[in-house]
Symmetry: D2
Subunit: 331 residues, 4 copies
C-alpha cells in the first residue's frame, strides 16, 4: 500500500485525489492546504486526514507526495520532499525562476528520488497514440511539427500579471510537446507576439497571440501558434511530418452529433477547456506515476523535462521582448 | 442514503456496481449471485455483503434492487421485488416470453413501483444530445429514421441458440431507439434476413444480416440494417430526417489521430464493442435511476418501453419467418 | 470521325452536346427538337444543323444518335434508330410502359446495335471508384447495401402527376445502383411509403417518402431510403458491407471551407442538385459511349440494365400500392 | 471579340488556351513559342496561327497577351506588351530580379494597361469562398494565419538550381495568400529552413523544409510551414483566426469514398498536385481576366501584388541565409 500526502485541495488537487484513490494499493492519507475548509472537505470525501506539511513529511509511512498547491510553493515543497525521500508528483512549473528550477532538479537527481511533473498532455490518449505510431515508424523520423494551441478565452488580467507571461504560463505545455515529439534538443527559438485580444493584457506587460519557431540540432523545425481566445472552444491540435507521411492529432468533441440544415452542416465545437479535454490524461498520468512507483520503473515526464520546457519558455520570452532569435546553451 | 441489492456479479453487474457507488447517498449493501466466488469478489471490492435473494428482499433498509443476473431470472426477480416494494433497475429483456413480460409490466404498474429497464443507449451522450436537439425543434417532426447497427463479430453459436434470435437479442435496442426517436407507435413491421456470415448460425435457426422496415401511425418510416459482423468494429449510427434538416449520430473513435500516408488518409476504427462505446451511457443510466429515486421523478425508460420493444422484436421475428408484413395490435 | 444527331435541345441535351463536342473525332451534326428556337440556338452554338428526325436518321454519315427528348419519345426514337442501324445513347427511362421497354430492348439486341442508357451515376467518380475497389476485393462479396437518396425539394405537383410515380421517376437510379453494386439479380421487393412532405403529392396519387427493401438470389439485402425533400441539399450516399469491411460513398461539397464559431463547426452542404453533383458523371458517360463506339467494346450500362431497373420500379410501385412483398419473375 | 496572343505552348500555356477559348467573345489568334512543334500543335488544336512575338504585338486586332513562356522572358514580354498597349495576363513571377520586377510594374502603372499575374490560388473555389466569408464578417478582423503548403515530391535538382530558391519558387504563392488574407502590409519576416528531404538540394544551395513567420503593421501574425515532400500528396491548407472564430480551407480529395476495414478507416489522399488541385482556379482566373477586360473593371491580382510577394520572397531568403529577422521597407 502506498500512502500519499496531497498538497493543495483546490480544483486540480481534487481531480488528482479522485484519480489516486482509484489506483490499486494507493491510499490518500493526508491533505494539506492553507485553506482549512478546502482541506477538510477534500479529506472528508476520501477518508483522509488534514495535517501540516511538517507532519506529513515526517510520517515514514508516506511514500509519495502529490503537489498541487500554488505555483510559488512548488520548488520549496519538492526540496523538502527530496529531503524526506518521498516520491514526488508535482504540477508544472517547478519554479518560474529558472535557476531555482534547475537547483531543484539537481537535488532530485542527486537524491535519486522519483519525480514526475504534471505535463498531462503526454498521457492524452490521442497524443499518446500518435507518439506510439511515430515511434513504430509510421512516418519515419520527424521533420516538421506544427502545434495549434488556443484557449477559449483569456484569464483575468490579474492572473496574467502574476502568470510569468504567456510563454511560461500557456506555451510551456507546447514546448514540452515539441521536445517530446521532435525527439531532439532545441538550438534556437524565435517568438513573435501581439496583443490583439485585449489591450489590458498589453498593459499588464504580456501578449495574447504568439507565433514561435523552434529549430533543433538535427535541423528539425517546429511552429507553434497560440491565442488566448478561440471563440469556438479549446483548440489543441498538432501534426508532425516525416519522410513517409503525416500524423495529426485532432480535437476531441463532446458528441458525434451532426445537424444538416438549410444553412450547412453543423457539428460540435471541441471540448470546452483543459479539464474536459484532458480528463483522461489526468487519470492516466496519476496511474502512470503510481505504476512506476510500484514497479520501480522510471516515470515518463521527469523534472529535467520540466526544466528544459522552462528554458524554452524563458528563451521565447527573451526572443519576443528583444525582437531577436535566441540561441540555447548546449546541454 | 439508498441501500441497494445487486443481483448478478458478472461483467455487467460489476459495471453497474462501479457506477452506483459513485452516486451521492447511494450504497451497495448486498451482492447476490449463484456463483459464490464472483459474489464475494465483487462484494469485497465495494464493501458490500454477500447474501441470498430472500434476505436481500426482506431487508427493509434496501430501497432499490439492481438486476443484472441471467436473462431467465429477470421477470421472476422483478415480480419478487415488486412484492417487496423495491425500486427496480433491470437489464433488458424483461422476459423473452412476451406474455410473461407483459404480466410483469402490469404488476409493476399496479404496484406503482419505480422500474427502469437498461436500454442504456437512451443515455449515450451523442444519442441524447441528438434527441434534445430534435425535441428543441432543430429538424421539425421526424419523418424518416435510418439505423445502422452492426456488431464487430458474431457471438458463439451456442449463445445464439439460446438468445431468442437476432431480433430479440440484438435489434431490441434498435427497436427502442426507433420508438424513442420517432415518438410514435408502430403499426407494421417487415423484416428481411439472411445468413451470410456463418452457416452455423442458420443451422441454429437464426440469421446474421437483417433489413427491417417499420411504419408508425403517422406514417413515419424507419429502416434498420444490422449485421453480426463488421470487420471495422462496432458500428452504431442513426440519422433522422425532418422537414427542416437531418440529425446524425456518428460513431465514437478511441482517438483523434489521423495518419496521412502514401496510400491514403487513415483514422481510427469505431470503439471496439458495447462496453467501450456505451461506457458513458452505463454511467449515466445508473445516475439517472438514483436521481429519479431521490427526486421522486419518473424514469426515462420504463418497463412498458421494454415490453413495446419486445413486441417489435416478436413481430420482426414473425415477419422474417413467415415472409410477410406483420401488423401490430393497436395499443 | 463520328457524326452525331442529337434529339432534344433542352437542359440535358445541352449538357450532352457540350460534352460530346469535347470528345476526339466526334462531331455534332444535327439537332432535332420540336421547339425550333431551342434547336437553332443549340445548333448555332456548336456549329451543327437543325433538321428533322427523318433526315437525320436517313443520313448515312450519322453513326450515332443521342436521345435527350421528352420521355414519351424515347422508345419510338430508339426503335427508329435501331432500324436505321445507328448507335444509341438514350436518357432514362426507355419507356414508362414496361412491355414497350422490353420490346425496345429486344429489338436492340436482335439488331446488335450499341445502346447505352443514361444512368450517369455509374460514371460518377466516387461511385465508380467505390465499385472498382469492391471489384478489387476490398471488402469481399457484398452482403448489405444501404442507399440514401434524397432530393432537395419536390418538383411541381404537375410534374409528379405525369412522372410515373416516385419509384419510376426518382428511385429508378437507385434500383440501377442496387443491381450494379450487389452484382446479383433481385428476387423480391418490399416498398413502404408515406406522404409527409406535401399533401398535394398524395392527391396526385403519389408519395414523397419511401423505404424499400430488396433481396437478391444469394440473399444479399438492400435498403433504400428516399425523400423528395432534404433541407440541406441533394443527399446521395450509399454504403456496402462485406465480410472484410465497408465501402462508403459520401456526398460531394462545393468547397472545403469550415467555419468554427461560438455555436459549433460549420461546413458546406452537399452539392445543390443533380446537375452539379453529377457534372463529372455526365461528362464521363458521354466519353465512355464514344470511346466504346470507337474501340468496338461493349457499353457499361445497357438497355437491358434499364429494363431491369424499370422492373424493380414497377415491382416497388405494386408493393407500395398493394401493401405486400412482390416477387420478381425469374429472368 | 477579344483576339489573344499566347506566348508559351507548354503545359500551362495549353491549360490557359483551353480555358480562354471557352470564354464568350474571346478568340485565340496567335501562338508564339521557340519550340515550333509545340506552337503548331497548340495552334492547330484551337484554330490559331503560329507567329512571332513581333508580328503578334504589331497586330492591332490583338487586345490581350497571355504570357506562359519561361520565367526569364516574363518581364521583357510584359514591357513589350505595355509598349504595344496590350492587356496582359502573365504567369508568376514577373522577374526573379526584384529591381526589374519593380521597373516592370512601374511601366504597367504608368501606361495604365490591365495586367493580371497568375496567382491562381486567389481564384480557387475553396480559398475564394473563405475570403468572401471573412469579408462578410464571419470571424471579425483576421489575427493569425497558418498556412500549410507542401509539395508531393521535390522537383529535379537541376530545376531547383535555377528556381530562384524555395521562397521565390514555391512560397511566393503563400506570400500572396498571406497578404490577401491578412489584408495588411508586412513589416517583418523571419524564415527558418532545413534540408531534410535530399542532401542534393543543399548542395544546390537551397533548402526543402521551411518555417516562416510574418508580422504585419497591425500586429497580425502569419506562420507558413512548407516541405518539398509530402508522401500523402499535395497539401494545401490554411486557416485564419479572428475574434469571432476560425475559417479553415481544407484539402480537396479526388473522391468521397471511405473504406472501413479491420485496420482503420481509409479515405482519399488530397488531389495529386497543382494541376489537379487548382484546375478550377486556372479556369476561373482566365474567366476573371477577360470579364474584367470586357467590363472595364480592375483585375483582382495585379502586378503590384506580384512585386510585393516577390519582396517577401527576397526578405525570407535573406532571413534564412543571414539567420536574422528582416524588416521590410515602408511602402
Amino acid at each position: 500500500m502506498i500512502d500519499v500526502a496531497l498538497f493543495g485541495a483546490g480544483r486540480i488537487g481534487q481531480i488528482h485525489a479522485g484519480n489516486l484513490v482509484r489506483q490499486p494499493d494507493v491510499r490518500l492519507k493526508y491533505v494539506i492546504d492553507i485553506n482549512a475548509d478546502a482541506a477538510r472537505a477534500l479529506a472528508a470525501r476520501f477518508g483522509a486526514e488534514v495535517t501540516t506539511t511538517e507532519r506529513a513529511l515526517a510520517d515514514g509511512a508516506v511514500r509519495a507526495v502529490l503537489i498541487a498547491a500554488s505555483t510559488d510553493t512548488h520548488s520549496d515543497l519538492i526540496a523538502r520532499a527530496v529531503s524526506a525521500r518521498k516520491a514526488i508528483f508535482c504540477e508544472k512549473p517547478v519554479d518560474l525562476d529558472l535557476a531555482r528550477a534547475r537547483a531543484c532538479a539537481a537535488a532530485v537527481t542527486a537524491a535519486g528520488v522519483t519525480c514526475q511533473i504534471g505535463f498531462q498532455r503526454r498521457f492524452d490518449p490521442t497524443f499518446n497514440a500518435l507518439k506510439e505510431r511515430m515511434t513504430a515508424g509510421a512516418i519515419g523520423a520527424p521533420e516538421l511539427l506544427v502545434i495549434t494551441s488556443r484557449d477559449p478565452a483569456p484569464p483575468p488580467v490579474a492572473y496574467i500579471a502574476k502568470s510569468g507571461g504567456i510563454f511560461s504560463d500557456m506555451l510551456i505545455h507546447d514546448f514540452d510537446i515539441c521536445r517530446w515529439i521532435l525527439e531532439d534538443e532545441v538550438v534556437s527559438v524565435f517568438a513573435a507576439g501581439s496583443c490583439l485580444v485585449d489591450p489590458a493584457i498589453a498593459e499588464a506587460g504580456d501578449i495574447d497571440t504568439t507565433a514561435v519557431t523552434i529549430r533543433t540540432r538535427r535541423g528539425r523545425l517546429c511552429q507553434i501558434n497560440t491565442s488566448r481566445r478561440a471563440a469556438y472552444g479549446y483548440d489543441q491540435r498538432f501534426e508532425v511530418l516525416g519522410a513517409r507521411g503525416l500524423l495529426q492529432a485532432g480535437n476531441h468533441r463532446p458528441t458525434e452529433v451532426t445537424l444538416a440544415g438549410g444553412d450547412g452542416i453543423h457539428s460540435d465545437k471541441p471540448e470546452a477547456f483543459f479539464l474536459e479535454r484532458y480528463r483522461a490524461a489526468y487519470t492516466a498520468e496519476i496511474a502512470h506515476f503510481f505504476a512506476a512507483l510500484q514497479s520501480g520503473t522510471p516515470v515518463r515526464c521527469t523534472i529535467d523535462d520540466a526544466v528544459k520546457a522552462q528554458e524554452l519558455a524563458d528563451a521565447a520570452t527573451r526572443s519576443w521582448r528583444e525582437g531577436r532569435i535566441v540561441a540555447l546553451q548546449p546541454a
